[in-house]
Symmetry: C2
């Protein structure tokens, strides 16, 4: 007595009057099959509602058609972007006929090792990589190919994708310099993010500072803690010490709203008195009032690229080590020329 669920390739073969191997070849396209046989098989597949058994397939073909998406358990401020990433990864992976196994970092290296060694996944996508990431060395001697989203300090031998944050910092300054601003502040991620050594924060700051220098703009940079009250306090302090600042670059999704809301209460209108540029996802930027000029983190595109790269590695195609997506600046209503002195 057969169990009622799980239609096997043998069932399809019988129904179509061919050999099991023929069904397999029809489905994989790895050998020529006549038009007529193919159609007969496909018809049987459809009428029986056949779906290949993933385990059996993985066992025989040594490919699971699954990739791992490794997220840090401690998702800090940037939850929405991470989510957007994750969804985009799933969608992209599906377009390559792969599924996504969600893994958290809290099992540590052992978790990664388990996933890889059990042949559960063919490749690994690592998100939110930190400058000095404990998972990274492991990745190097794992047999499975991997792609990182973000850059560790030492990226040799690894494939990494990210927004070009260095360039993003530059772009913000250039926009503001062009408008005539001469003194600009960078309000960054919470201090913890810098301390943790997360790459993007440092790279943005470097680009920011470098471009400012080049354009004769003087700068102030400071991290911005979480929480509306803290943001307010930070702003007060900043404007108190540096009253001549006429533009802010904010790289902290959670802070963008509060910053825009607080400035008017401090007697600074946006953009008449002070301009604001944000580095944050588009959905955020479009929801503020006034709508904020921003350099979006193109989560979907980064995800797509990362998956595409991983697929190429699975095929053993050569891939570039570093892929930097160029930032685009979208001008909205929060930036204007500085007020006359």
């Amino acid at each position: 007595m057969k169990s009622p669920d799980q239609i096997t390739i043998a069932d399809v073969a019988r129904h179509a009057g061919v050999a099991g191997s023929t069904v397999s070849y029809v489905l994989s396209g790895k050998r020529a099959i006549s038009e007529v046989t193919r159609n007969r098989v496909l018809a049987s597949v459809r009428t029986l509602g056949y779906h290949p058994h993933a385990g059996a397939r993985a066992l025989a073909s040594r490919r699971a058609n699954v990739i791992a998406l490794v997220l840090p358990l401690r998702v800090g401020m940037q939850v929405p972007v991470v989510m957007q990433f994750a969804m985009a990864v799933v969608t992209s992976a599906r377009s390559f006929d792969h599924d996504v196994l969600l893994v958290t970092s809290d099992e540590g290296p052992a978790g990664l090792r388990r996933i890889a060694a059990s042949a559960m996944v063919d490749g690994i996508l690592l998100m939110d990589v930190e400058l000095d990431d404990s998972r990274v060395p492991l990745l190097r001697d794992l047999t499975r190919p991997s792609v990182l989203i973000g850059f560790p300090a030492d990226a040799t031998g690894l494939t990494c994708v990210d927004l070009d944050f260095h360039r993003a910092g530059q772009v913000c300054v250039e926009h503001l310099a062009q408008l005539g601003h001469r003194r600009v502040a960078l309000l960054g991620a919470p201090p913890a993010v810098y301390d943790r050594g997360t790459g993007f924060a440092h790279r943005t700051r470097a680009g920011f500072t470098e471009a400012a220098h080049r354009h004769g703009v003087t700068t102030v940079t400071r991290p911005l803690p979480e929480g509306t009250a803290a943001v307010r306090q930070g702003l007060l302090d900043l404007l108190d010490r540096h009253p001549d600042v006429t533009a802010l670059v904010v790289q902290n999704e959670a802070a963008v709203g509060p910053v825009l809301a607080t400035l008017p209460t401090l007697g600074r209108r946006v953009p008449q008195d002070v301009s604001v540029v944000a580095i944050c996802p588009d959905p955020f930027a479009e929801q503020t009032s006034p709508m904020v000029t921003s350099v979006p983190v193109p989560a979907e595109e980064v995800a797509r690229q990362a998956v595409a790269l991983l697929m190429r590695k699975l095929r053993e195609d050569p891939v570039p080590d570093a892929t930097l997506l160029s930032p685009r600046l979208t001008v909205r209503d929060s930036t204007a020329a500085p007020p006359p002195p």
Copy 2:
């Protein structure tokens, strides 16, 4: 020549000087094995770094040790909660020695069917269930067990877990009534959420209205669109038409911040002039200023419960159809007695 990666159970057996089946029994504990043999096998497992091949295991045992987590692709504003859920699901699943396959709804029912039929997962966890959810009927005639997070209109034959939103609505009103408020407004999710028939919004409103009635409190309810500007407009309009409202219940994470920020600019101090209770995740509530009295959505606990239920169903243990987690109200700084008339 053997491929260097992938140590098999045969390797372990040889190394330990026992039969393959013995290794299997040591690992699964399904038959008595002498202490001495067990230790010898476990030692070999460790020194060789053996991890069972997931596909082979799934094929032979008919259990993949993987559950599917199905997320809606279109995640609205409540991204952070969803994320929190997802992470908690992974953690819980791991504690049962299961992994999590991330699936989006955008493939539609076909996607679910594929996942289930390919024996890729043993069970399914469906998030963000809507009152009239197209995926739900399918679930009923799938062979795999499933658990829903949220309630569809017709939940017969299904296992559902959620916060008791009806009770949450009541709890908010009761708190406010006790403080002496007589006229209370419910500011809900964006209109689209109601139209979509998402259960929690309706259930909260029902509980809210019912409790208000019972306590002799009159109510106004209205959805709240996304965006700071829209929130402001909505508040202006509300206070204009109903100037006697002294308390607000906000069920819209994205709106809590803006509401609290906007009220003072409309000449209403919180909590002296108007009290605010939010139904939102704790991290949100703790970040507002003033810190808002709230009924948190216990994402982690819901996730844990859902996974636990699914595991019981996998073991074919009987489980309750509906699991409602009781809300707790955390009093913070945004609620007080209403001002004298």
